[in-house]
Symmetry: C2
Subunit: 340 residues, 2 copies
């Protein structure tokens, strides 16, 4: 079922069929209808490979996700979902590539096989070899997240430093003077995961500004780790009255540990941080937090990418989102605890 088949059945030449489909030459209404009827009848669609070969573009974009994709957070999942949706909207297909290591076959295929017109890169490290590879391969790309050298690429990111900073100020305003930052996993932070580092920076800066004490704890990206870390934290520092976190997946565990310690949120203990919007609203009590608009970010990343694909000389746009902190029900003025 190729264009020749359609042409002969419609009694026209192959090019006429092509022109009728693309509209790059006018075709008489009668002929066009005849062609369209045959196409509808046979369910013909141009072969993607042949078209890509000729046009030099694939109408496909690559989405590079973290390798341990089983552990995608809700926020990351929100990115994936919104990117896929935005792509579908632009009639683009999305090729998924789980990548991380340097010698990644699937990632290399994306780059040098001409499989995609552009790439969206997730979970970027401060030093990320994939960025260099993409630059060298001359593939248009946009990061969700960015490297240490902000100017070297086009990206959209959450301003974790500012947001965690604001969280701490909010807690300090409520009278909290012992605050913990529950960060992402040790491995991730050690690997130079930007949000982890920037959250820490914002945290210490705010602590210094307010002259209060805090501790910074790395925590695995799951509920169990959240529970253990929080329990440990409460044991080691019983005077803590609030936690700020960027570790979405740990939240249910944090909550369980607080319950086990007979601490009610927000009466006895305040909880805030940076999490995806739906997550914050689904949580009980509803979470006072900076709501990351994962949905819009994916869509924005896609439009940045389309712009780059259309004109690779476009200057690098850098979008640093600092969504306002939504006051909900998980923070309250500090209350002196029995033993505090």
């Amino acid at each position: 079922m190729n264009i020749g088949e359609i042409a002969s059945r419609a009694g026209v030449s192959r090019s006429t069929v092509s022109y009728a489909l693309s509209g790059k030459r006018s075709v008489s209404a009668a002929t066009r209808k005849r062609i369209q009827d045959v196409i509808d009848e046979l369910g013909y669609r141009p072969n993607a490979a042949a078209r890509a070969l000729k046009e030099g573009r694939t109408r496909t974009i690559g989405l590079v996700i973290p390798p341990a994709s089983a552990h995608l957070t809700h926020m990351q999942l929100g990115f994936v979902a919104s990117v896929v949706e935005a792509a579908a909207h632009a009639d683009l297909d999305v090729l998924l590539s789980p990548s991380g290591g340097d010698h990644d076959r699937s990632f290399e295929r994306l780059l040098s096989g001409g499989r995609v017109d552009g790439v969206i890169l997730m979970e970027i490290r401060l030093e990320d070899s994939r960025v260099r590879r993409l630059q060298d391969a001359n593939v248009p790309f946009v990061g969700i997240g960015h490297t240490a050298r902000a100017g070297e690429m086009c990206w959209i990111d959450v301003d974790y430093a500012t947001l965690i900073n604001q969280c701490v100020h909010h807690l300090a305003d409520l009278g909290h003077t012992r605050i913990a930052l529950l960060n992402r996993s040790v491995e991730l932070v050690a690997a130079g995961y930007g949000p982890g580092h920037r959250a820490r920076d914002g945290f210490t800066a705010a602590l210094a500004a307010r002259g209060i004490q805090g501790m910074d704890v790395e925590c695995g990206d799951d509920a169990r780790a959240g529970q253990e870390c929080t329990a440990q934290l409460l044991r080691d520092h019983p005077d803590i009255t609030a936690i700020a976190t960027i570790n979405e997946a740990a939240l249910p565990g944090i909550q369980r540990a607080l319950e086990e310690a007979r601490l009610t949120v927000p009466a006895d203990f305040s909880l805030t941080g940076v999490v995806g919007r739906t997550w914050a609203e689904d949580f009980r009590p509803r979470l006072t937090a900076a709501d990351v608009p994962a949905q819009e970010m994916g869509a924005q990343a896609m439009s940045l990418l389309l712009e780059r694909i259309a004109d690779p000389a476009t200057p690098f746009h850098n979008i640093h989102l600092a969504p306002p902190i939504s006051l909900r029900a998980s923070t309250a003025p500090v209350r002196r605890r029995p033993n505090g």
Copy 2:
């Protein structure tokens, strides 16, 4: 940077380069090394479109996921992750297609554009027009889930009927006589979502077998809905002592509602069902449940698909998984409640 470039730089013909790469003809060691050196130096990779055009296969498989991809459950996410991983392992790329409605452009592109060698279809309904479309388009495919006519396609699925049946028997053995099934969302069940229907069938069958009473409740796929449904359920049927569920996303909400009702799991109330393994283990108390091995299922679906692609005449394999119920800490003998 195409094969001709490599050929001329290595001083051989294009076909020699091709043979050196594919190994389908022997090439002298010296020549092969010369070619490989040039390839390594320039980072050449065969153009995917040209290769697909000639070979008639794309080395890409399509993964059709539910459209409202923002609401993927952990289990579904596990499928996606494991499929992507299995594909990467087989050096295949994965094209993601969010589909659901009948007029889905991305889905249609998969079918008739020759973009993929095969398709893995998720979230199948009892009557699913996409199955017919795939059959008509003659695209090898494997379902994670299956339609009402089991024999018409190749699939791998969780035997919800049997598992929920076993859950009820387990609860009945513990003395529970008032049990609720917390199903997936009304919309999903109304749309003919198989697991919802089969879970209900297994539920009513087991109730009848044990001569006990139960109620079947549909519940939205999120924590909030879980909380509301459970609260409502406890209000309407205060004599309920156990819930079985296939609604993973509702679990945190179920738990919150139980807590609010001052019911401790498992002392006052038993909770069980069919959920992804990691989810069951992360839950507190650890969930007695049929652990769906989402990871292995994705990998198995992929190998079924590879088999079908290799030989489309392969008889349809149907794999109905009924993983044993793992006894953990969320079910216990019924305890007469104050008002019960």
